[in-house]
Amino acid sequence: MSLLRGVVAWGALALAIAVPLIAAAQSPLLQWREPLYVIAGFSGIVGLALLLVQPLLITGVLPGIPARRIHIWTGMALVFAVVVHVAGLWVTSPPDVVDVLLFRSPTPFSVWGAVAMWTLFATAILAAVRKQLGLRIWRLGHSVAAVVIVTGTVVHAWLIQGAMENVTKGALCVIVLGAGAWALCRRRVWRMLR
């Protein structure tokens, strides 16, 4: 029974990530983009997908792996994905990325991505020094940051007219939000407030 549950959980996760990626790979926009721009865009989609993996690892629904340990590695992969995303866009159109980083971009989705990115970097630093922080500060800080990162990324992705196909993008966004909320509830983070 638990084997079946494991197979279903892993299968569902693979499907949730693979379908939007495959749909985006069919986008007609890709033929008019240079490889680096395509890589930068897909790096963003991978980042969104990793935001689904992270809460699932922490709630322990994915059996057969050292989930806590992998959560750390996935976190590092997420930082890497964001760095590739921004660096690729920077090379493709430097002034547009500079505008985003200076919070003066005309596009409404940019600020959501920028806030999510800086929060992610702050979380990485927080994670590196978590032993010095104490459990309470670390768990509260990491949870608040996770909410900002997930919300910012989902709004950022949703507002973009890009390679992602709308239905699969919307579905992945909803699943990412749901998984994040569910993990917060399961872990009952608010206990730390007492």
């Binding site: 008019w32 505008d99 596009t107």
Partner: protein, 166 residues
């Protein structure tokens, strides 16, 4: 001669009302109808190439960018004004020289330039247009625009410039 019998209440309420209307900007000076200048848009100048050549058509064409150039104030059409257009199209990225071209307005202040189909890039299907005082007879302030197309499938875009005299 009779002096109006001003009560304190009348003085206070009249002064208060006068202060309120002037401070809130609810008053309009009486003047002829004026056309406001188009402000430069955020990000409008991104990937601009000063002095891009005047051409009939950018690349293989298929998409029309049209517009008018008028003078702020009286709205008079401005002839012979140089407008540069650039965008991410089916034939190139925004920063590529081949994605840029310029055209001049006709006697009615109208410009038209054919270019490859604009495709969404950096999250929005958009174009860039510039009126650069440096590459013109001058007399007007430089303006950079970044209009967003209503639909990515649109095959034309209309843009209006109203230039402020220097």
């Amino acid at each position: 001669m009779t002096t109006p019998n001003l009560t304190r209440r009348a003085v206070v309420s009249t002064a208060g009302a006068a202060l309120l209307t002037s401070a809130s900007g609810l008053t309009l000076p009486a003047r002829a109808q004026t056309v406001a200048a188009t402000p430069t848009m955020r990000g409008g100048a991104n990937n601009y190439r000063p002095g891009a050549p005047i051409m009939e058509r950018i690349g293989n064409g298929g998409f029309w960018t049209t517009g008018t150039v008028r003078r702020a104030g009286d709205g008079a059409p401005l002839a012979g004004r140089r407008i540069q257009v650039w965008a991410h199209t089916t034939e190139g990225h925004e920063r590529d020289a081949r994605s840029h071209g310029a055209t001049l307005t006709d006697a009615d202040g109208v410009f038209r330039i054919e270019m490859p189909q604009i495709v969404p890039a950096f999250g929005q299907p958009h174009a860039h247009l510039a009126y650069d005082a440096e590459y013109d007879d001058g007399g007007f302030e430089t303006v950079f625009l970044r209009p967003v197309m209503e639909r990515a499938s649109d095959t034309s875009l209309h843009v209006e410039f109203v230039l402020r005299p220097v």
